[in-house]
């Protein structure tokens, strides 16, 4: 481990910070979105669901390209940012968060949406007959019942952001200390033929991925046992 420079620890902190901020935003944005997708009978739901799912099939470079156009100094969001004194979101941490949120959104929305859909109307109807307002029922019945889906979504969103690479390179610009996260570091190690560091880092990230999948399996098993 002594081969690891201080930069890599800085990068680790940055990676975790990015993943945490992204996950929080994903849950705050994704939960109401999933609720609407699961319960609305509007024809718009499928159109919106398609838009959200796009990052799954789109090469990250394509997504990033459009984001750059949007967030850059001449893009609409960049112009908007200039109103509050910012120049651009491209090659910044904030831009990285936007890119990560968009690319992980389908992974977060899908499990939550499925959980809400599988729950059906009944628990909420029963809550309503017990004087629960729709908002109260959402927080006391729908969210607790959706806990397995929310957990799955949070773990997936976090893990996906840790491993994000294409978006980092395109939007983040791989700037040490600001946007250079672990996956980008690994790329650099390989470029520079620093195989020992590369294998340490790759191994650590592999272990992390294994831990995530294991955690998800356990969440699933636990929630099933609770429900029988």
């Amino acid at each position: 481990m002594d081969g690891f420079s201080p930069e890599i620890w800085q990068s680790l902190g940055l990676t975790i910070e990015l993943a945490s901020v992204t996950t929080v935003i994903l849950l705050i944005v994704g939960t109401p979105l999933a609720w609407w997708l699961a319960r609305s009978k509007s024809l718009w739901t499928e159109a919106v669901a398609t838009m959200i799912a796009l990052p799954l099939v789109l090469p990250p470079t394509v997504l990033s390209f459009y984001l750059l156009a949007l967030l850059g100094p001449n893009g609409p969001v960049g112009l908007l940012a200039s109103l509050w004194g910012g120049r651009t979101l491209a090659f910044t941490f904030a831009g990285l968060v936007v890119g990560s949120v968009l690319s992980a959104l389908p992974l977060v929305v899908q499990p939550i949406r499925n959980t809400f859909a599988a729950m059906g109307d009944r628990p909420l109807e029963i809550a309503a007959t017990l004087r629960a307002s729709p908002l109260y029922a959402f927080f006391t019945v729908a969210l607790p019942l959706a806990r397995p889906g929310l957990l799955t979504a949070a773990v997936l969103g976090f893990a996906h952001t840790i491993g994000t690479f294409g978006v980092v390179l395109m939007i983040g610009g791989n700037i040490p200390g600001r946007t250079k996260v672990l996956s980008a570091f690994l790329f650099d190690f390989v470029q520079e033929s620093r195989w020992r560091e590369a294998s340490w880092l790759a191994g650590a990230m592999l272990m992390f991925a294994v831990a995530v999948v294991l955690a998800l399996t356990l969440i699933d098993k636990y929630s099933r046992r609770r429900s029988t």
């Binding site: 990250p60 992980a104 059906g120 809550a127 019942l145």
Partner: protein, 415 residues
Amino acid sequence: MRTATPGRIEIALSGSIASFPLDTRFSVPAKGVAAIFGPPGCGKTAVARCIAGLERLPAGFCAIDGEVWQDKTTFRPPHLRPIGYVSQEASLFPHLSVRRNLLYGAPKPKPTPIAFDEVLELLDLAPLLDRSPSHLSGGERQRVAMGRALLSQPRLLVMDEPLGALDSCAKREILPFVERLPEKLALPMIYIGRDMAEIERFADHLVMMERGMVTAAGPLHVLQTDPALPLAASREAAISLDGVVSGYDGRYGLLILRLKGARLLVPAPPLAPGVHQRLRIAACDVSVAREAPRAGSILNVFPARIRACLPLGAAEITLVLALGTGGSGTEILARITRFSFDSLGLKDGVDVFAQLKHVSLLSASEPPLQTIPASTPTADPGDRQATPRRETRSSAREASGIFLSLHSCGATHVT
């Protein structure tokens, strides 16, 4: 604009729900138990859901005891209707303990007309309090659902086939609790069922439905003896009545019950005079004679007049009899063979003697001396939820399924 009448439950629904046409109108007293009876798929549940506000028919009217819940301009959402709703599956919240399920709809300020301890005792829930709904039997779950509905302090209890999903054993376990509710709580109740044997035990009013329409509505006993309706002509025909206890013969253990036009002697434990006792007289337990039997073992023999004769199959006839000399009293049913009918020369208007071989007392196991005074405000439980558990399970499975597929997808695209 239609106005609501105090003391009545007035329902008028027309339109269609999921392409099922509904045209249901009835008005029953906002007191006692009104049963809605009909074959499966006749729209009973749709009516219950409309009353609860879970379905909305644009042309609907719903008023409970003078309070309009729905008319042309008003629609109260379900959470603003003081209703207790119990359906076929208990639908308890799987993430809450029994205690927290019970208290979910209970108003926070403490003194409530329907007290927590009272409901615990009434439904025998104390031993279940700290359990999880997933460890309860079907009957227990349904009891918790009823308690939960009662504790939301409803002004109307709607029970939509609360026993429908239970096996006969669980039904036997829970029926006494259901029967006890109207007796103990002064809460109007709408009971939806398709089993007349249940309804006869505690309903006061009956609404009969078929294909989304009301075919008859009125006091239970009146509909049971109405020759124009299928109840009197059915093989299980019976009447149910509330008799008033007027005395007790301690030497022989006979309870004396007064009906209009008759004084019944029934072997039973003693009851306080003045108590109302629900009794059931099956048509097949009543026979008739042209002359007063001089000596016989049947205790309850009363003069009666034939009001109607309904053929039952090829060999039998159901008679509607009005008890009392001149036929001025309570109507009951008698089943006799067509042979006896012809050989005795019976027809409408003939005076006979009705011999009641057997009178069943219902909910007699409950000593009515302990009846809570009528001053206790009403409340009723009614909720059930057994499915969310199952639903959560499937949702977890689906979520994890999607996770695996999406995860591999995401992984491909990240690298």
